[in-house]
């Protein structure tokens, strides 16, 4: 069995997800600018149905690969069956589509932040499963599917394997930055929405910016060590990244103090 690059597998999912989320964000923002409520609602429903359909059928776009998988040179197979393009892929996608459906329901009732939380929980759950069953998401496991390298894919044919890894690492990192950025920014809003579990809420709200800052620094450090040869420049860049991240952590600690102060009184 070909050993599959974990990052490319994750990035493939991320690309599929990001395409939809981007369009959703753009369309819902534009729709919110419209004054007629009915048109706004009609656009939202149409778009949400389109997204749901995309998520169910995404692996049929390039035979057995979604856009993300195709770009990364991967495809879905069912080892136990000779019929590769079957209902299994759609069943596999039903789980992620259900998370999206919940998101859509919240989105339609104008409580989109809860929708984001549902998605985050789904993603976290998937990530845990992905680590527990290497390279398999929950849907893959249930539908008995496997993601493998597509030997007929020509996109990466002329690229050296070590370069492919470098490209994928950089792209995954850069694409994750805006998400971390938004997560850090919206976390105070999310937790101001009157949910229960105040103690946990306070701790998470204080901890998200700190975790985000440390995660970004970890990525930067990796990137600098991997690509920068000049020793002086390497030190300078690490110091710069570290100082920015330290500032973020220090600010996070202050916010954290405000959030959890009443727990210690």
């Amino acid at each position: 069995m070909i050993k599959l690059n974990k990052i490319s597998r994750l990035l493939a999912s991320y690309i599929d997800f990001a395409i939809v989320m981007n369009l959703l964000m753009l369309v819902s923002t534009l729709a919110n600018m419209l004054e007629t409520k009915e048109i706004r609602l009609a656009i939202s429903i149409f778009f949400d149905v389109a997204i749901f359909s995309y998520f169910v059928c995404k692996d049929s776009i390039f035979e057995n690969a979604s856009i993300g998988k195709h770009l990364l040179g991967l495809k879905l197979i069912k080892p136990s069956s000779i019929y590769q393009n079957d209902l299994g892929t759609n069943i596999r996608n039903m789980i992620s589509s259900l998370a999206i459906l919940l998101f859509i329901i919240y989105d339609l009732s104008a409580r989109s932040f809860e929708g984001y939380i549902v998605l985050l929980i789904y993603m976290a759950f998937n990530a845990i499963f992905f680590c527990y069953k290497p390279n398999k998401k929950l849907g893959d496991y249930l539908a008995k599917l496997e993601v493998v390298e597509d030997e007929d894919n020509t996109i990466w044919k002329e690229v050296a394997p070590e370069k492919k890894n470098a490209y994928i690492t950089i792209v995954s990192f850069l694409l994750s930055l805006p998400i971390i950025d938004v997560l850090v920014k919206v976390s105070p809003i999310i937790f101001r929405m009157g949910w229960g579990f105040s103690e946990i809420k306070a701790i998470i709200r204080g901890a998200i910016p700190i975790a985000g800052a440390l995660l970004i620094f970890h990525f930067y450090n990796k990137l600098i060590n991997k690509f920068v040869d000049n020793a002086l420049l390497k030190k300078l860049l690490v110091v710069c990244a570290a100082s920015v991240m330290l500032a973020a952590v220090a600010k996070g600690m202050l916010d954290f103090s405000f959030e959890v102060r009443w727990l210690f009184r």
Partner: protein, 272 residues
């Protein structure tokens, strides 16, 4: 003339960015000291009961410290080429020349850097949120764009033109140590450092929108948020274009990163 043409725009930009690295480092370290002291004081003043009195006085002290340190930053930008090539030029293997000879007079270098240091000095001395301050602060960015346009078209900065200096490659420089990927990493770090929420309050008045009060929020100019998002989006798109070989993958990444930022930008604009 051939030497001048050998110095690519990417090398020039990289050298300029490396020269600028100490500024975000100083800015961030000030923030570290400020926030850490604030946190310690918070926990040490009867569990926060007297914290706000202390916070106000400390804020003023830290504000003054900011001025001192940023003035040092301005001074550094003014004097950076006087003791031989600056840090960025050394790393990139470049040096300044006048009519084919190395620049020996420090005054020439000071005058060359004067415009940059002056506009930066103006920029950091107007940190409040008034319209006048904001206009002055934006002047710095207009200057930076003009400088960039000047380098792209004539291979010289505005200061180089005025003082009739030229940037050439040092003969003893070993090429290949700093490659295309390195340029990109430097740009990413700098872009992130400059547009980071924790450094930005010192550059743009864009302290995280959610952490400010309603009155302050009204004062925040949307253009600073928009410009930081646009800088990030087009910067990343530029990097992908330079870095990624397979066309299909490259263009998907570029479209995705631009859409991501435009979505956030649009959301901020609509919310505003």
């Amino acid at each position: 003339m051939s030497n001048i043409q050998n110095v690519s725009k990417a090398e020039w930009l990289c050298a300029a960015l490396i020269d600028f690295l100490p500024i975000p480092i100083i800015g961030s370290l000030i923030q570290v000291v400020y926030y850490t002291a604030d946190t310690i004081s918070y926990w040490s003043t009867e569990m926060g009961s007297n914290h706000f009195v202390w916070h106000a006085s400390y804020f003023q002290a830290s504000h003054n410290l900011n001025y001192v340190l940023y003035s040092l930053g301005t001074l550094y930008l003014l004097l950076k080429d006087t003791l031989g090539p600056s840090l960025g030029k050394r790393i990139m293997g470049l040096r300044l020349q006048k009519e084919g000879n190395d620049v020996k007079k420090p005054l020439l270098c000071i005058l060359r850097n004067a415009l940059l240091a002056f506009s930066y000095g103006q920029f950091i001395s107007h940190p409040d949120l008034t319209v006048t301050s904001f206009m002055i602060r934006n002047t710095f960015f207009i200057y930076c764009i003009a400088e960039l346009a000047c380098v792209c078209t004539t291979h010289k900065t505005i200061g180089d033109h005025i003082m009739q200096l030229e940037l050439v490659r040092a003969e003893d420089f070993t090429p290949g140590k700093v490659n295309n990927r390195t340029y990109c990493i430097i740009t990413i770090i700098l872009m992130f450092a400059m547009t980071s929420n924790y450094f930005m309050p010192n550059l743009f008045p864009t302290e995280s929108i959610t952490s400010l009060g309603l009155e302050q929020m009204k004062k925040i100019s949307i253009s600073s948020v928009a410009s930081s998002k646009l800088i990030q989006a087009f910067g990343y798109a530029y990097l992908f274009n330079k870095l990624i070989q397979p066309k299909a993958f490259r263009w998907t990444a570029i479209i995705l990163i631009i859409l991501l930022h435009l979505g956030f930008l649009l959301k901020v604009v609509v919310d505003y």
